[in-house]
Subunit: 340 residues, 2 copies
DNA sequence: CCAATTTTGATGTACGTAAATCAAAAAATC
DNA sequence: GATTTTTTGATTTACGTACATCAAAATTGG
C-alpha cells in the first residue's frame, strides 16, 4: 500500500496537522520541522492521492479556451471537440469556457488575456497569434502562475508551459518530401496555397516545405505563394487562375479553404497529372483523397489536441508531471488506404 | 453541482441504504422500489463519482498482460512501456502483472488464460496468437465477465471487448501505395521480408500489400515472401541472397529483424537505387531512415497501445464508456522529416 | 524568569461513496 | 390474525485528504 499522511506524520514524529501544514504550504512551521516532514515524504515516497484531495477540496478546474473566430472546417472541428470535452466535464471535474476573439488580431487577444488575469481560471489554452504583445501578455500570466498551453499554433520564445499542436516545420518538410518522391524524376512547377503568411503555423509549414524542396528536389520550382485567406471562394479563384500555367505538376495546400482548391482542381485539371498534398482531414478533403483528386493529407487531430491541452493544464495546476510521449501531437499522414 | 446519492434518495423518497442497494445491485429491494430509484437516477442525471467510489472501496485494478517471449526490438519496447505503466500504478490504482508465454504457441496461451479464470484479475490484455483454441478460451473468459483487450495482434471473430493495435491490412495497403508512388513509372520486382506467415498481423500486412500492388501497380511484381522469423541473422542471409537478383527495385519489410535487413542493404545495395519501406521505429530503423537506407517507416506506438489497453480495461471493469477516437491506435508514417 | 509570540498537537467535520448492522415496517404465508 | 419472511430505514464507520479551531507546548524577547 502507498503511504498516507498518517504514515508521514508517524515517520517524521509530528502530528497530522503539521504534515498538513507542510503539504499545503500553510504558515506556522519551523524550518527544522518542515525539513523533517519533507525528508519523511521523500523517504517513504509519499505522493498525495489527487482523487482524495480533489474530493476533499471539492475541487474543479476552471479552464478557458481562447479561439480565433475563423469560419473554417478545422476551427469548427476544434470547437466541436471542446464541446465534447464540456460534456465530460462533470466526470473530469473541469469547468470549460470558450472565448472567441477576432482572428489575426493581437490586440483583441491581449485584452482577453488581461481580463483573465482577474478572473483566475486554473488554466488557459489559446490558439496563439504570433505577436510581441501576445508573447508579453502570456509571459505575464505565466509569471502570475497561471498554467498556459498554446493550441494548434505556438508562441515560440514565450514562457508558455506546453504546446499542444504539431511541429509545423516538420509538416512542411514532410509535405515536400512526399510531393518530391511522388513526382519522381519529373521537372516542373509547384503551386503553394496558404491561408495567410501572417499566421505562424502557415509560415512554418512553408519554411519547412521550401527548405526540403531546395535541398533535395532542385528540379521542382516553387511558384509564389497564393494566399487564400482560408476562404474557399478566394482559394478557388486563385487556384483556377494558377492552373492556367501548364508547367504546374504539383500543389501543396498548407492551410484551410480546401473546398475551393478541390473545386478548382476538378474543373481545370481533370486531364492533367497533378500531384496534390493538402492539410487537414475534413469531409471534403477525405472525399477528394478517395477519388484521387488529392494524393495525401497531412492532419492534426483536433480531439487529441484538446484532450491533451486539458490533461496538461490539470497536471500543471496540481504541480504534477505529464507523460511527455503521450502529449506529443503527431502529424498524421493519410493516404487513401489508412483513413480512419 | 452534480447530484449525489443523497439527492437520489430524497428524489425517490427512499433511504440512502436503498439507493446504495440499487446502485451496487445488492439484494433485498422490491421491484417497484428499484424502479423508483432508477427513475430518480435517470431524471437527475446522476453519475457515480468514480473517484469517491474507488476511494471508499479502496479499489485497485489488478490487470494482467500476456506477451509472447519474443526477442525483438518491438517486444522489448512493449515491455518497457508496461514497466512505465507499472511505475504509474499507484497513481492509477492499477496492479499490473506481466506473463510471458512462448511465441506462436496457442496451447501455452490457452493454459495461461485458463489459470487466469481462477485468479480473477479485473482485466486481461493479450498479444493474441490466432488459433481457434485461443479464440474459444478468450470467448469463455468474456462470458465469465472478464474485460479482455487484444494488443498488437487481434483475434478477429472473438468476443474480445477491444483491440489496441493498428489495422494491419491498412498498414500493408499504405506500404504498397507509398512504395508504388515512390517508384513511379519504374518496372521491376519487389522483395517482401516477413517474420512468419503464422502470425496474423504479418499475414494481414501482406494481404493489404499484395492487394494494392495488384490493383494499382501492375508493373511491380512481388517476389515470394522471405520469412526471416523476426531474427536479424536469418533476415540478413535471406535479403543478401535475394539482392543477387538485379531486378529488385523495392523492398517491404513487414516484420521485425530489421537489423539484418539494414546490414544486407548496406553491404549489397550501396550502388543501387532501391526503395525500402519497413515497419517499427527502432534505433536501427531510425538511423537507416536518416542515412537514406530506408525511405519510410510504418510504426505503431507501443506506449499508446499499452496506455490505451489500460484505460479501456479500467473503463470496462467499471462499466463506463470509452472515448472511441482516443483509443484508436494510429498507423504512424515516418519520413526522415517528421521523426519524433 | 516572565510574558508575548510562535509553533505544534489533538480533534472534529467535510467531500461522495461503500458497506455493514440492527431495528422497524411492510408484505407474504398459513 | 398471528407468524414468518422480505423489504426498508436509520445510523455508523471507513477511504485519504483538506481545513478549521482551540489548547498546549516550545521558543523568543525583554
Amino acid at each position: 500500500m502507498r503511504p498516507t499522511v498518517h504514515d508521514i506524520a508517524a515517520a517524521a514524529g509530528v502530528s497530522l496537522a503539521t504534515v498538513d501544514r507542510v503539504l499545503n504550504q500553510r504558515p506556522g512551521v519551523r524550518h527544522v520541522t518542515r525539513e523533517k516532514v519533507e525528508t519523511a515524504i521523500r523517504e517513504l515516497g509519499y505522493v498525495r492521492d489527487v482523487a482524495a484531495a480533489n474530493l476533499a477540496k471539492g475541487r474543479t478546474y476552471p479552464l478557458v479556451f481562447i479561439l480565433p473566430a475563423s469560419d473554417n472546417s478545422f476551427m469548427h472541428g476544434l470547437n466541436a471537440e471542446i464541446r465534447q470535452a464540456v460534456l465530460r466535464s462533470s466526470a473530469e471535474r473541469t469547468d470549460i469556457r470558450t472565448i472567441e476573439v477576432p482572428a489575426f488580431d493581437p490586440a483583441a487577444l491581449v485584452s482577453v488575456l488581461e481580463e483573465l488575469s482577474r478572473e483566475k481560471p486554473c488554466g488557459i489554452a489559446l490558439v496563439a497569434t504570433d505577436a510581441p504583445d501576445v508573447r508579453a501578455a502570456v509571459d505575464r500570466l505565466v509569471r502570475e502562475r497561471f498554467p498556459i498551453v498554446t493550441l494548434v499554433s505556438d508562441l515560440t520564445g514565450s514562457l508558455r508551459h506546453h504546446y499542444a499542436g504539431v511541429d509545423n516545420i516538420a509538416a512542411g518538410r514532410t509535405a515536400a518530401r512526399l510531393l518530391g518522391r511522388f513526382l519522381g524524376p519529373r521537372k516542373g512547377e509547384i503551386a503553394v496555397l496558404a491561408g495567410s503568411m501572417l499566421v505562424r503555423d502557415h509560415r512554418e509549414r512553408l519554411e519547412g516545405f521550401t527548405a526540403v524542396m531546395a535541398e533535395e528536389f532542385p528540379d521542382l520550382a516553387i511558384l509564389p505563394v497564393l494566399e487564400g485567406r482560408d476562404d474557399p471562394e478566394v482559394a478557388h479563384r486563385l487556384v483556377a487562375d494558377a492552373l492556367g500555367n501548364a508547367g504546374i505538376i504539383g500543389v501543396y495546400s498548407l492551410g484551410a479553404g480546401n473546398r475551393g482548391l478541390i473545386r478548382a482542381l476538378k474543373e481545370k485539371a481533370v486531364d492533367r497529372v497533378l500531384t496534390v498534398i493538402a492539410h487537414e482531414l475534413t469531409a471534403h478533403t477525405r472525399a477528394a483523397l478517395i477519388d484521387n483528386t488529392i494524393d495525401a493529407i497531412l492532419n492534426q487531430d483536433a480531439g487529441h489536441e484538446v484532450r491533451s491541452a486539458i490533461r496538461v493544464l490539470k497536471a500543471k495546476a496540481d504541480g504534477l508531471a505529464v507523460i511527455e510521449a503521450q502529449e506529443r501531437i503527431r502529424l498524421d499522414i493519410f493516404l487513401k488506404d489508412n483513413l480512419p
